[in-house]
């Protein structure tokens, strides 16, 4: 599969925020050096549009008018998003290849590779439904 999208932007979501807990100080330092080298190399190649770590704390807002505000359940979990990178690449394969070269994978994180869209799928869905209703 070699799909492309219109924006050429792909988002890498780094999942798992507790991968470093079991590492010795030396191993942790070594891991961080590798991660920084990986990041710098992608930056030099002009593949990175944006990217930042996210703070471990946060809030989850839900319910009508946001009546429920909870402390995020994402402090330390395998699913929690610890940071993101916005890539500018040719296609999903290139983005996936970059994700595969990330040194943190060795320590148990997972990386979600997502194409960035120009238009919201729900918006398209709404338009489609209205059109088919108008045609009926």
């Amino acid at each position: 599969m070699n799909r492309t999208n219109q924006t050429g932007e792909y988002m890498l979501l780094f999942r798992g925020t507790d991968w470093h807990k079991k590492l010795s100080p030396e191993d942790l330092e070594h891991a961080m050096d590798k991660v920084m080298a990986w990041f710098e190399s992608l930056k030099e190649q002009g593949k990175i549009k944006a990217g930042q770590p996210l703070g471990a704390e946060g809030r989850t807002v839900s319910g009508r008018n946001g009546r429920t505000v909870a402390d995020g359940p994402f402090a330390e979990s395998k699913e929690a998003v610890g940071g993101y990178l916005l890539l500018q690449v040719d296609n999903l394969d290139e983005a996936t290849t970059m994700a595969k070269s990330n040194p943190m994978l060795e320590y148990g994180i997972a990386i979600e590779v997502r194409p960035v869209l120009e238009k919201c799928p729900a918006f398209q869905h709404a338009k489609g439904q209205l059109l088919s209703k108008a045609a009926a």
Partner: protein, 129 residues
């Protein structure tokens, strides 16, 4: 950063409801952009890949097709503090239908990197003590 979670909340809506929530959402986004509060934001495609394992040996089709947890898109906010971000999150038109908004501070320096650096400093201090 606001992460919009859940990508099935729109399924039970009538075409009119869906149209309304979508136009409310667009108006919300445009309003925040005009105020300079939102500097970027995009929906994410439903499919994608999940890479894991040493050297990325496992590449799976994303499990985010349809779920309450899946991230459907994001807004990047420029605001004074967390409370302002939460107030903005509360205005999300999808909340009424079950969408969940995760509000996350963006960090300057990775907390793990910081921890690694603290270790090195601690070691140096230990060595010279």
């Amino acid at each position: 950063m606001l992460l919009f979670r859940g990508n099935i909340w729109d399924r039970g809506l009538s075409p009119e409801q869906l149209q309304k929530v979508v136009s409310d959402w667009m108006a919300w986004f445009e309003g925040l952009k005009e105020q300079g509060k939102c500097t970027g934001g995009h929906p994410l495609e439903r499919e994608g890949k999940l890479v894991s394992g040493k050297q990325g040996r496992n590449v799976a089709d994303g499990p985010f097709a349809e779920s309450k947890e899946a991230i459907g898109g994001y807004f990047y906010l420029q605001v004074a503090d967390e409370n302002e971000a939460i107030e903005i999150a509360k205005q999300c038109p999808g909340l009424e239908y079950g969408a969940v908004v995760e509000v996350r501070p963006v960090a300057d320096v990775c907390s793990i990197k910081q921890r690694a650096e603290e270790f090195s400093v601690g070691q140096l201090a230990g060595a010279t003590a």
